[in-house]
Symmetry: D2
Subunit: 337 residues, 4 copies
């Protein structure tokens, strides 16, 4: 089988690095190029130093058309600009890890491709949450890869939305520092962040839009009100979510609901034991736990923000788009500790 040729744009960032780590070991894909203007010519391990001894690939400032898929690991707002400025052939599939195309209102992208002749190209970006949209992803030419908090919160709530059970939801989430990227900031300074907790973007996090869109997709014409308080955590990887809501279903029925919903979805596990963040760190998995007390339901969910919340999910989407096994290249040894 010919390997999938992948190009990576924005390869010097956290999600770019994680994507490289995955694709270097992917059985059916290989990296064609890793684009980075600022690091052009340097070996990958100058930036991603764990890659020492793993590959001879160097960052390049050039793009190549000889690829099957292009991963955009650039910052929010940069992906659209990149597609506007660069002449990407229509046959190349695109997975964008930014939030540029996640909302239906932004899902169409029009540009003119100049090959032998000019042609107008329209790219439609399918929202790439496989547990929600697997069939569309399998047919998709372009994917808007979901946000990290958005993934963790949605996976906790989708079965309830499908059953029409969502109304008011109160969600708290905590994220590792890699969720904020590699930019230097006071809140990413070790002296500040170590042993610290802080709320930020209270009730206004930018992922609320895509979360609401997905929940309404499964529970249309409803009035879902999600209050989300994100916290900065003093760890590097992972997201832990607790969502609380009124719910009349009993624990057994809830368990059935979740198991039915996630049947056939390799990466989601509904646990009967208390879950914890490190179960999933350095894996592409999401673990979910349901706790019913009185009339209230609490749904806990946990993912690795760089994997199931970003680059791992991007590879999962690639696998689906190319008709290969969904888990290929994603059977990762958990760090566990």
């Amino acid at each position: 089988m010919k390997k999938i040729n992948a190009g990576i744009v924005g390869g010097a960032g956290y999600t770019g690095g994680e994507l490289i780590r995955l694709l270097l070991n992917h059985p059916f894909a290989e990296i064609s190029f890793v684009h980075s203007n600022s690091n052009s010519g340097n070996p990958l391990h100058k930036v991603h130093q764990d890659l020492i001894g793993e590959t001879g690939i160097r960052f390049t400032g050039e793009l190549s058309d000889d690829i099957d898929i292009l991963f955009l690991c650039t910052g929010h707002g940069e992906a659209k600009k990149f597609l506007e400025k660069n002449n990407i052939p229509p046959h190349i599939k695109v997975i964008d890890l930014s939030n540029d195309f996640r909302l239906t209102a932004n899902a169409f992208f029009h540009t003119t491709y100049t090959g032998i002749e000019s042609e107008v190209v329209t790219r439609y970006f399918v929202y790439g949450l496989p547990e929600l949209n697997k069939a569309q992803i399998q047919q998709a030419q372009n994917i808007a890869n979901p946000g990290c908090f958005a993934t963790a919160i949605q996976l906790g709530l989708l079965p309830l939305a499908k059953a029409g059970l969502l109304n008011e939801v109160y969600t708290t989430g905590i994220t590792g520092s890699t969720g904020a990227g590699q930019g230097l900031a006071n809140t990413s300074h070790f002296s500040w962040r170590a042993n610290n907790i802080q709320a930020y973007k209270t009730l206004t996090h930018q992922h609320l839009g895509e979360i609401g869109q997905s929940l309404l997709q499964l529970q249309p014409n409803s009035n879902i009100d999600l209050s989300f308080v994100p916290w900065r955590g003093d760890f590097t990887r992972g997201i832990f979510i607790s969502s609380t809501l009124h719910c009349d279903l009993e624990q057994a029925a809830l368990k059935q609901l979740y198991n039915d919903f996630y049947a056939g979805h390799h990466f989601v596990c509904v646990s009967e034991e208390p879950i914890f963040l490190k179960q999933v760190v350095n894996t592409n998995k999401c673990v979910i736990q349901l706790e019913k007390v009185g009339s209230k339901l609490v749904v806990h969910s946990a993912i690795d923000n760089l994997l199931k919340g970003a680059s791992g999910q991007a590879v999962q989407n690639m696998n689906l788009m190319f008709g290969i096994e969904e888990a290929a290249g994603l059977r990762l040894k958990a760090a566990a500790f």
Copy 2:
């Protein structure tokens, strides 16, 4: 001025150690004895190793009546047993750091004291949250020192309760490992807890009783429904709380409400800037931040679980009981980092 003579029971535990650290530097109090059966005869720094060079006091297995106040730093359920088994003179004030006497239903303790003659002694334990009950504490002979989560959550909500504004409240809190004491357990193993997050006692935490009691004290005959999800955090000291609720008051009115409520309360600061846990770690302070978005209010609050959440608050209560300055011995240098 004659110094207050303090006895400490359960001095080998975390709250006992923290109390020792405070009282060693207290300008108006001194430690008469530190009781610990298992460590009797050992210098304090055998257990609390940071105390090396600070004091020559040794643990003792004996109690002395020549004290003004007795701190009970024993485990939950043990304080009551201790008072039953030991013949504590009625004139000795008691501050109990356990949950044995916090609920009004448990606040009376009857025993027979055998001095020259036998006499029946009734001790009534005032719930020792100074920002709620300062006047009673100043008159109290016995104090039930509040729980750590209970303190942080109440300080965030008391002004709203006084204004009759509480109905449904959704609270998430995260606590450092010292909140669970020094017992060895899988969830206190460094390999497990480092870089980890886990929910526990979801909606069933034992502090819900005392929290509800205090809120109803200020907002009687109401139907307050507090859903509390506690998390284990990967740090040693501190509690961070976010409580979300519907609220019609605007931000300015809320600010006024909180500032009025906490006027005269030295240790509570209402911040206009985003707060974070390490502002208060190693201090007796509570910082609070209010965020109003749409019809929702989020109240963030943070304390050090061993200080304002335990031993610091106990000293604050002692100060009030003996009519000395409330902050005496509690002007602590924050760790800050």
Copy 3:
């Protein structure tokens, strides 16, 4: 190709868990059984909770002879006892992760195997450091897998020993908490270990024996004096070593010496950039950096204590023993953060 059938004894511990994680994804091996008396009947993820959804294997209290290789992940002193008490057929290869057979003086193990007839069996344990003993390992029936500190220190010093350059060496090393296993102890309590550093077993660490043996193997008849101060670190995974010594070779010659020595050894990288611990965490790699200042040489080396320092090296040894690719099942995505 028929897969290698592996049995694991002591599968509930840290190295057992790590070995399971590796073998579950190994392309040429599969787990036949995971033995644990205390967990018999439980699914693996009851203990190794990250394995939820990964496998249906359960711990067993029974041993099976239908295996090709047996991994002993029991504590020090227990491996020998296990082999004495259990009737292991001579054809089964053994890799012992404890220190029971690492020293030449302990490398022979004699027992009587009772099959159809009784026969005296002698097992000779080759010291399983592939970068030192690859040829013997490829022929070995039994392997004494090296200690974690021993691996990191030796890999930093072996080229110098081969060149006859070792005399006095001053080594400091720091290890993650998983190096001490899952036993509960004051020094593994999160409240103690977080943000803490402590020396232990100063100049008396039990790995000094195997280190000295290997160095003398390459630099015989010499008087090597290694002073090793181990530190407990406040992280879970990894070992970082700095060894300082007098050395007359210049940096360029040293680099050549190391590159020559490690040519053909997949898992050791000599870096020209400053190395750091997280380059290798969750991988089977060792990174080495050489710094020559004046007449002194400092060699830094780093490994993951559970992988190159234990279970990863055990799999590497298994690969060599069975003639399959040395890196099979060991191309691990670094945690990186």
Copy 4:
């Protein structure tokens, strides 16, 4: 008693903040001004957010002459420039926390002070390690406050130097992130530094000069060779040192030597138990442990880099210069956890 009036220059940095925390609670000193050009007009808690509610002092861009002592908390190289550019009256004592005046070769500073008339002023900076130079400090007008690593290493070795026992010394030290200041850098990014270890400035650390100078002061005309490998640690506060050397003295004699040397020095404790970093974090103490194995001696020492390694030692020096109790304002509650 009239309080000592202190001015602080560079008050927005880590050591400036720590000095503010100390002086706010100092019984015999008060802060006259905190100078910071970039933060002029802001309340202190805008930068040092733990100070919320503690003080109404604001940063100022102006200097005042109405002070008794000026603390220079500026970066290395900036202190000298500051004294050159600003017209500081000769009567004002100066404590400089940078390395500008620590070496004898740099200890004299000449400038022209323009008061009613111009006068040439010469300031001589005494190296402010009280355990080495207490008598000179008590008479000093100017202090060069020692470096953090320099303090920890010297306190471990001074008694040996006094006894003439130093020859070759091999030292490894690990420092918290606050040692590198608040500047943003890749090596201070939380995602990088968490759970990580790295050597830096191997054998070339800038504190070697002042260390060597002090050791030669006590052991003159000797050939002391100190090899020092510093490590970056994954914690915020503290320095832990292990120094290894040949030594013929027995443990008992060593203990006597250290106890004699540190008699009368409040902040240094020689421990008979294993020491650890958190014994001293958030205190001004240094703990030392001696381990003799064979002909080798290992001296472990630990301090808080911001306190005994910087601002705490500066206050200790101030106390000595003004003839007040050496420990005034420095009886700090250890964080302990």
